[in-house]
């Protein structure tokens, strides 16, 4: 029946917040990822540059997202990522999956995973991988 297309299961869409914490101004990567996720059928809330962890957690709460994607190229990921995770938890959103894209040294990966970051993507990562892993993380 054609009406069934609007039923809850079909109406539900993955909602993703794409945010850029920190002070660097390189937002091309964040925009490419936002667009790729859109083309994969997700609803992407794009917040723009220079967001504080507090602003990101607040936006994640107001938008009731499933996923937060952080774009960090400033090297401050070891300070910013745990703060975002902590604030999400404080708001009762510990189920939200956090992904990071940007310039992240390999030696930081284990500690980021330990903190609760679901995935990390550097230069050259394929958007198909990102889409697949975001979908898998949300439906698990």
């Amino acid at each position: 029946m054609s009406e069934q297309k609007t039923s809850p299961e079909h109406g539900r869409r993955i909602r993703v917040l794409v945010a850029k914490p920190g002070l660097d101004g390189h937002d091309r990567g964040a925009k490419v990822v936002a667009r790729a996720l859109r083309d994969a059928g997700m609803e992407v809330i794009y917040t723009g540059l220079r967001q504080t962890p507090e602003m990101i957690a607040e936006a994640a709460l107001q938008e009731d997202v499933d996923v937060v994607g952080l774009s960090i190229l400033s090297g401050a990921h070891m300070a910013l990522a745990p703060r975002v995770l902590e604030l999400l938890k404080a708001n009762g959103q510990e189920q939200v999956k956090v992904f990071i894209g940007g310039i992240i040294p390999d030696e930081d990966l284990p500690r980021l995973k330990e903190m609760g970051v679901t995935g990390v993507y550097g230069p050259g990562a394929s958007t198909e991988d990102i889409i697949r892993q975001v979908k898998a993380a949300v439906t698990e």
Binding site: M1, E3, T6, P8, G11, R12, R13, R15, A34, R35, L37, R38, D39, A40, G41, M42, E43, V44, I45, Y46, T47, G48, Q51, T52, E54, M55, E58, A59, L61, Q62, E63, D64, N91, G92, Q93
Partner: protein, 333 residues
């Protein structure tokens, strides 16, 4: 604690999850709306529409700031952006212009994708507005998609509709076309520091005077001529004011907020407020009824029969009107 009490106590996690349920039209969402309905009807709903790039989000940002700082009202923002008709995905970017509102617990911003709905709003926008209303937000700003000339749904939902224009977006014929200008309670010319603003103001003034004639005195072949305004107001007694703003600098925002307050007062004094509420609830009820009737009817029609009739329509053996008649009468051809 009832759901309404939880919302009124400021539980933002409950609020945000409920907004999702309502947006997805789940059974939980419907139950909640039913429970909350008696708590709604208190908020002032302000619609913001206009072509893309006229500065709707920036104006919403400034208005919300003004309502918070000057009047200490609790403000909710519902911002609708388009969904892709091909993938159903969306990039919702209105928050980019609303970063000044971050960190204020008296403001709640929710982005919505239009999810295939035309007319500038999503199907569930009215539901989200009801949830905010029940949660005690007394001012709700609703920003439409911004597609242009057919965005009239907002006038049905909002008490006060702002139509945003900007210099350089078309000539005076645009201004007298039916549709978007007719729904304006207040016309805003944003980006008023740009060249061409005088032409935009003039075109809008002329268009308004066609709809709301006023007394005119002018020189014609050296003689003063007077054209009296008609005694009876043509539509109603509210003539949309035109307000110049520069949203990026906050210029004209206080004046715009004053006009919004004046319009709300006019609606209350003239009885228009209750009339609008009544007709809005009427069209909401009609829409729900239509949906429910179709769903109910389709339950009684076997899928195979529906497909058979559709096939006949597809083969051009049956016109859609005949097909509807047949399905309703339960006959087959």
């Amino acid at each position: 604690m009832t759901l309404a009490e939880q919302l009124l106590s400021g539980n933002r996690l409950t609020l945000t999850r409920l907004l999702t349920q309502v947006e997805n039209d789940t059974p939980e969402g419907r139950t909640a709306l039913t429970e909350l309905f008696s708590h709604t009807g208190k908020a002032h709903l302000i619609g913001v529409t206009g072509a893309p790039g006229t500065g709707k989000s920036s104006l919403v940002n400034q208005l919300a700031l003004h309502f918070r700082k000057q009047e200490e009202r609790r403000v909710a923002v519902v911002a609708v952006d388009p969904s892709s008709p091909f993938t159903g995905g969306a990039v919702l970017g209105d928050r980019v212009r609303m970063r000044d509102l971050a960190g204020d617990p008296g403001v709640f911003i929710r982005s919505m994708a239009s999810r295939g709905s035309l007319g500038g709003l999503a199907r569930a926008t009215a539901g989200l507005v009801q949830v905010f209303d029940a949660a005690g937000y007394d001012t709700i700003l609703i920003e439409t998609v911004g597609a242009g000339q057919a965005e009239v749904d907002i006038a049905r939902l909002a008490h006060t509709t702002l139509v945003i224009e900007a210099p350089g977006l078309g000539d005076d014929i645009q201004a007298i076309k039916a549709g978007i200008l007719e729904i304006a309670d207040i016309l805003v010319v944003n980006k008023a520091d740009r060249p061409g603003v005088e032409n935009t103001l003039k075109a809008l003034k002329n268009a308004l005077e066609l709809a709301h004639p006023v007394r005119h005195v002018f020189l014609h072949h050296g003689k003063l001529e007077v054209v009296e305004a008609p005694d009876e107001p043509v539509y109603n007694s509210w003539i949309p004011p035109i307000q110049k703003t520069v949203a990026t600098e906050g210029a004209g925002i206080k004046e715009l907020a004053d006009e919004i307050a004046r319009h709300a007062e006019h609606l209350r004094e003239s009885g228009e407020w209750t009339a609008r509420e009544r007709s809005r609830l009427g069209s909401e009820l009609d829409a729900l009824l239509r949906e429910a009737l179709v769903a109910h009817f389709r339950e009684g029609v076997p899928e195979s029969r529906y497909e058979a009739v559709l096939e006949q329509v597809f083969q051009r053996e049956l016109a859609p009107w005949e097909a509807v008649k047949m399905l309703l009468n339960g006959q087959s051809k």
